[in-house]
Every structure is written in structure tokens, then in C-alpha cells.
Symmetry: C2
Subunit: 455 residues, 2 copies
């Protein structure tokens, strides 16, 4: 945090590093690069590695000191992390993961083969192993998978003074601790004792008298995006995680929630373009293969649209102006539909759109679609009519435009809700289905009307 | 936080509220609705209002108790907030904003007309007014605009024991305080004293001996997205904001940074579809007008593509199969390009892509585009060749496909960097320019090659 503009400085560092690594590869003088790299914060090293092309990244990774490796891995994105770990043997992984927090360690372990997990677990002391194994038993995308087990618990019947003396004796508090967790003798979660209260309230009071009771324990099975909603809504820094019986399992801290929020929004943007990758320097063939699938699906829908056009070959043969104009109707439908579907998909992700207000939203989007359809239909009709000196062509393209924009609005509003009900991610499937609909309807309406009225 | 699934429950509440409000509008019995609404957390009320259609939203807003209004406004999205405030007079706004934190208040004030700001400021005591005025002097999207002025400062030369007694006497600590700020007598920021250290270290030590010195003050002019990077990278809960001379101005807390992260990613998704709105129930005409602009721009580019097709009218007249097949080339180029541009735009936003690694990234994307171009060109060539029983048509569409996918990859990788250098938001302008390029190149390559080789 010493730089005034981290963005620019990072770009500068990437450039220096890339050049230095290239030179070093030839000359073998890596000492300076090593020094520079290891003086950075692990998070910054992770970002740098993500910004480097594959060969330089591998080389830079080898230069990083062993005791930093674990932290760097925990800050790196999933894809880059897996790539880096593939180069490490079990021994190195054990060394790298020593001293990591449970949640970071669990994150890393989840990407490893079973035999390596076993070796890493074997190297830990019993208590740590127990914690990690229990955290591993929850899916990655639930509160249980996100939690850390480094809680400090206190009993409700002791005085604040006792807690204060305990903490001073203990000598250390885990990072991101804003409150201690109050539990019964049977480890049942009952409330939170904030550090602020501990510092300001009368030390003679008992924990029970001071503790916050209105923060409920988060069930371990709660999906992470709902955990994020809770944190945002109640401005939480940390919150307890409980099992079905209300027993304390661990705690979730805001830094992990920030990652969830970042990933969730990121996932929407990427999915809508059919992307799963985050590593900008993923190997070319791997990248091409993953994107190729998406292109293949779109090719199939493009052929479907072509087939629709093919139905009207005879019409096109007679009036070639139709071929010139037809992409306009399809393209405008696609744009209008993608606006509606983006609004609805993000509204659903933020919990603003659901079955309860779907009907009203569809009505509103239909009205917007109709209004814009009408407006731009007039413009298109005028331009097309003048261009081809034929008022009937203008009228037909205008009518097709209104039809397609209304269809686009309804499809854009309804598709995400229908797709989610089918258990599929609307951000991924929605856009393909939508453009298929707007293409097919666009060509069908325009060429169909033309066949009826112009021939 | 008492519900196990907030999403579903919220949907339930929206449904209950909408129905209850509709009934109440007819019968006039609003008591139950009022009770239900005011029992919720202000953040939850804000989300509910955002989920309600305009008429119900206005009605529900009138039912909310005056002392909750300020908090609800501070949790609502910009657009809905402005809409709600438009219904309030200056007096109501003064009442609503009483007791808000500086940062929330500043957020709200920024959307109000000058005369109302003046009235609100006039109603505050001098110290608060001074704080708000100084916060208002920084742009909304900088550290200064994000900060809160509710800092607790301590001097470096006192002992922890003195600080502990001071806090106990003070009796209250502002929310989201994880550390006190250490300043010189001249108010120069020098370090942080964490509550954790205060609780665990020897009380006889001085603040200077215990304080954290490696968190630099954030310059008030730093853009908010860079503030977010700093928080994410160093897992900060709160951080001090300083002016150019290093004097303490205030502090930024993680809850506001979470909003920045959420908004930033949201902004990318929305901009790429040409959306500025977040209010799903914005008035139809306002919504249609804003989206209409985007549709108009796209219509202009669609006409450009049509004009390109028009250049080949004579060719199309002779071989109508070309009209049937031509949308495939344009569409595949659009899809491939949008994958690359999405990857680059998000990479830029996350600081992974910049001038330093641009050349390497463009090379990689070109390779991916060429590989996929080749693969799908073969598939398209086979299908098209068989469909129209003409190997030459197959060869031509295959060649056009390779050309367009390579162009799409280079344009997708380069456009965001060029557009940002021009000072324009790549997420907004990038996609329009890109599809214009892929459409024009797609039609030009396919119909051009056909004209050369088939006529």
C-alpha cells in the first residue's frame, strides 16, 4: 500500500518482470528477479503471476521462496492455482500449506488429487487435521466450505474481566476477529461478544449481559451467495457457522465473502459470453477447446436461422433487397433481447427478481419493447422505403421489427426464470437460446410477410 | 438472519406485500402492511422497495416510519433512491438524514438539488456540517467520497493502558472499527493500533511500540476501484484516508468497499448490454428512452452492414444460396469476438491486463481465434457444401469464417485497450464497435470471395 497508483505500478512491474525474466532466461542471472518478487505481498505476487504468459509464469513461480508459496496459492485464482500446483510434488505441497488458515488450506486441498490430500493431512497435528477434514466435508459453495475454524469461544456466565485476562494471557487473536463467539458448555452457539463492547463496557458485567443476541448462526449448508447477502445486509465482519443442531462449527470472515461477491458477478459476465476461464494466459489449445464448444453450439443455432432463410429462397430470388435488409431485423431483436435478459439475470442474482414479481416485470418489459419497436420500426421503414424506393418494403420491415422486438422482450424476461426452474444457469444458456429465438423470429417475420404481401 | 433461505423468503415477502398493497389500495386497511414493513431491517426494506412495481413502491414508501427512512435510503440503489427522494420535501429529508453516518449522508446528498443540500447542512451542528462539507468536496468515485469521518485517533506516546481507560470512559466505538488511528499532534497519520493488539499486548507499552506501521494512508484522490484492490489485497477491514500532506481526513470501511466491488462488476455487465439502469421497475417511457439510444446506435451499425451486403446485390441475385448462408459467418465472428472482448475487459478491470502484457495477450487470442476458425471452417464448409451440393461454396464460406474469426480475435483483444486510451469506457463502446467490425468483415469476406470465385 505504499504506491499511490497500484494499477499503474502493477503494469510497470509486469513489464519489468517480463523483460527481466526474458533476459534472465538467456543469461541465467535470476538473483535480482528473485529479490524483487519475494519482497512483494503474496497477494501482489499472485496477481503478477496471473498477468504473466505461461512460460514466464512457470519460471517466476520457481523463484518464489518456499514459505511464501502457500499464501501465494491461496490468493491466486482457481485456474492459475491448479496450474501452479501441477508442477509441485507432494512434499513441496506439504511445505507450502504449512501455517495456512483452515479456509485457505481447504480451498487449496479441494483442487488436489486424493493421494496428495492424504499426504498433506498426514503431516498435520491431530487437532488441525480434524478441523480440515470436517471443513472438507462441506461443498465448496456452502457456508461450511467457506468457514474457518479459528474461533475464540467464551462462556456466557463469566465476566468481561475474566475474558480480558484470558485474551491478554492468550496473547494473540486470529485475523479479522471483530467478536468472540459465546457458546454453552455443550458448544451450542448463543451470541457474539464484540471486541468493541469488551473494550468499552463495565468489566464487572457478565458476557451474557453484554453479548449480541440478534445475529443468528449461519447454517453450514447455506449457499455462499446467500451468505454474501447476509453479510451485505447486516454489514457483518465475521459471523458464526452452526450445524443443524445449532452447535458451533466455525466462522466466516468478510474477506472470504468479498471473494464470493467478486466471483459471483464475474461468473455472470463470463457465462453470458460462454467463458469458463479466468486465466488470461491459459494454454492456447485448452482455451480454444473450451471456447470451441460454445462456438459449436452457436454454429448449430446459426444453421437453424439459415434453414429458416432457406425456406424463403424463392422469395429472395425475386426480391434481392430482402437479403440486404434481413440482418437488420434479426440484429435489432438480438440487441433488445440481450438488454432485457441482462437486466433480469442480474436482478435474479441480486434477489430483486423472482416468481413474485415476474408477471409485472414481463408486462413492463413488453411495454418497453413495444414502444422501442414502434419508434425504430418507423425509422427503419422510412430508410428502407427510400433506399429501395418501395413503400411496401418499408412497411414490411417495420412490421417485422415490431414483432421481433416484442418477442425479444418477452423471451428476455421469461427465459431466465424458465431456465432457472429447469436447474440450469440462466447466464450460460439464456443468451444462446435468446439469440436463436430473435434470429428465427426476425427472419421468419420479415421474409414471411414479404412472401405474403410482395409476391 | 433468522431465515434459512433469505432468497425464497424475500420472494415470499414480495408476493405478500404486493398482494397486501393491492388489497389495501382498495380497502384502505394498511395497518398490517405497515407493521410488517417496519419490523424489517432497513437493508431488507430497501431490497423490497426495489422489487416492487412503481405504484406499490410509492405506497409502501409512505408507510415506512420516518426514523427508518434515512437508513432505507442509504441501502437503496442510486436510481431507486433518487425516485423515492423526489417525493420528499426538504423538511422530510432533513428528518430522514438525521443520525446517518457521514458517508451514507454524503451519498444521499450528492443526489439532491443544491437548495435541499443547503437546508440539510443548515440543520446540523457545526462539527458534523464541517465533516460533511469536506467529504462532499471529493468526487463520489474517489477515496475521499467514500470515507467516513468517525475516526478515533490516539497519540503515539501514550501507553495502551491510557487508551484502554479512554475507551472505557468514551463508552462507544463507531461500527466496523477494527483499529484506532495513530496521529501526531499535527494530525499527521503515522500508524494503526488494532483492537486485537490493544486487548492482548502489555498495557504498559506505548502506542508507538505496538502500532502497525506498514499500512500506508490512502490518498483522498485515489479512485474507488483501486481502494477496493488495496482492501482485497491486504484483507483490510478499515483503512485511513489522508490528504496530500499526509493529514488524516477519515477512514474507509470494508462495508463500503463491498458496495464498490459489487457496483464495479455490475457496471461491466450492464454496460456491455448498453444498460445504465438498475431499477427493474423504472417507468416504461424513461426505460424505453434510455435503451432506445442504444438500439439507435446499433441500428446505424446494422444499416452499415446492410450497405455492405448491398454492394453485392448482383452476386446475391445470381446465387441465392449466399443469402441463406451469409448470417452464419457474421454471427460466428460476433460470438468469438465477444468472448475475447469480455475476457480482456474483465482482465483490465481486475488489473490483470494492461499495456505491459497486451502484445502477448493479442498473440494468444489470435492463436485461439485461428485454431477455432480452422476447426469450425471445416465443419461449416462440409455442411454448406453438402447442403447446396457445391464444394466451391463450402470452400468460400470456410475461408470467410477463418478470416472473420481471426479478425474478431484481434479486434476483441485490441479494442478495449484502444478505447480506454481514448478515455471511453470499453465495456460500453467495445461491444458495438466489435459487432460492427465482425458483421462488416463477415459479409465482405464471404460475399467478396464469392464474387471473385463463383461468378
Amino acid at each position: 500500500m505504499t504506491e499511490s497508483s497500484p494499477q499503474e505500478t502493477r503494469q510497470g512491474r509486469i513489464k519489468t518482470l517480463t523483460t527481466a525474466l526474458a533476459t534472465a532466461l538467456e543469461s541465467g542471472a535470476l538473483i535480482n528477479v528473485r529479490k524483487m518478487l519475494n519482497s512483494l505481498h503474496p497477494a501482489e505476487i499472485a496477481r503478477l503471476l496471473e498477468s504473466l504468459p505461461a512460460r514466464e509464469r512457470r519460471l517466476a513461480w520457481e523463484l518464489i521462496e518456499a514459505d511464501l508459496e502457500g499464501d501465494v496459492l491461496s490468493y491466486a485464482g482457481d485456474e492459475v492455482r491448479i496450474l501452479l500446483m501441477r508442477e509441485m510434488d507432494a512434499q513441496e505441497l506439504v511445505a507450502a500449506t504449512e501455517g495456512l488458515d483452515t479456509d485457505d488450506l481447504v480451498d487449496i486441498l479441494q483442487d488436489l488429487p486424493d493421494v496428495v490430500i492424504h499426504t498433506v493431512l498426514h503431516s498435520m497435528d491431530e487437532q488441525d487435521r480434524y478441523r480440515v477434514v470436517s471443513a472438507l466435508s462441506y461443498p465448496e459453495d456452502t457456508a461450511g466450505g467457506l468457514m474457518n475454524t479459528d474461533t475464540i469461544t467464551v462462556r456466557p456466565d463469566v465476566t468481561l474481566d475474566v475474558v480480558l485476562r484470558y485474551l491478554r494471557q492468550r496473547g494473540e487473536i486470529p485475523e479479522t476477529t471483530d467478536s468472540l463467539i459465546v457458546v454453552t458448555r455443550a458448544d451450542q452457539y448463543i451470541g457474539l461478544l464484540s471486541l468493541a463492547d469488551l473494550l468499552t463496557r463495565n468489566p464487572a458485567l457478565t458476557v451474557a449481559e453484554v453479548m449480541i443476541r440478534d445475529v443468528a448462526g449461519i447454517p453450514a449448508s447455506l449457499p455462499v451467495n446467500e451468505v454474501a447477502h447476509l453479510f451485505e445486509q447486516h454489514d457483518l465482519i465475521s459471523a458464526p457457522v452452526v450445524d443443524v443442531d445449532g452447535s458451533l462449527l466455525g466462522r466466516i470472515t468478510i474477506d472470504d465473502v468479498v471473494d464470493v461477491i467478486r466471483d459471483e458477478a464475474e461468473h455472470s459476465v463470463m457465462s453470458m459470453a460462454g467463458l469458463h476461464e479466468e486465466d488470461i494466459f491459459a494454454p492456447v489449445v485448452a482455451s480454444a477447446r473450451r471456447r470451441g464448444v460454445w462456438l459449436g453450439i452457436n454454429l448449430a443455432t446459426a444453421f437453424l436461422a439459415s434453414w429458416v432463410i432457406g425456406l424463403f429462397e424463392a422469395t429472395l430470388q425475386q426480391i434481392v433487397a430482402l437479403a440486404v435488409l434481413m440482418p437488420i431485423v434479426a440484429s435489432m431483436g438480438g440487441i433488445a433481447g440481450s438488454q432485457t435478459i441482462t437486466l433480469v439475470i442480474r436482478g435474479m442474482a441480486l434477489g430483486r427478481v423472482g416468481v413474485a414479481n415476474a408477471r409485472r416485470l414481463i408486462m413492463k418489459e413488453l411495454a418497453v419493447g413495444a414502444l422501442n419497436g414502434l419508434l425504430w420500426a418507423i425509422v427503419v421503414a422510412l430508410v428502407a422505403g427510400l433506399w429501395f424506393q418501395d413503400a411496401r418494403i418499408g412497411a414490411i420491415i417495420g412490421a417485422a421489427m415490431i414483432i421481433n422486438l416484442v418477442v425479444a422482450a418477452s423471451a428476455g424476461a421469461m427465459l431466465p426464470l424458465i431456465i432457472r426452474r429447469m436447474g440450469v444457469d440462466p447466464a450460460l444458456a439464456g443468451t444462446v437460446i435468446l439469440t436463436t429465438i430473435t434470429d428465427v423470429v426476425g427472419f421468419m417475420a420479415f421474409l414471411g410477410l414479404a412472401t405474403i404481401f410482395l409476391l
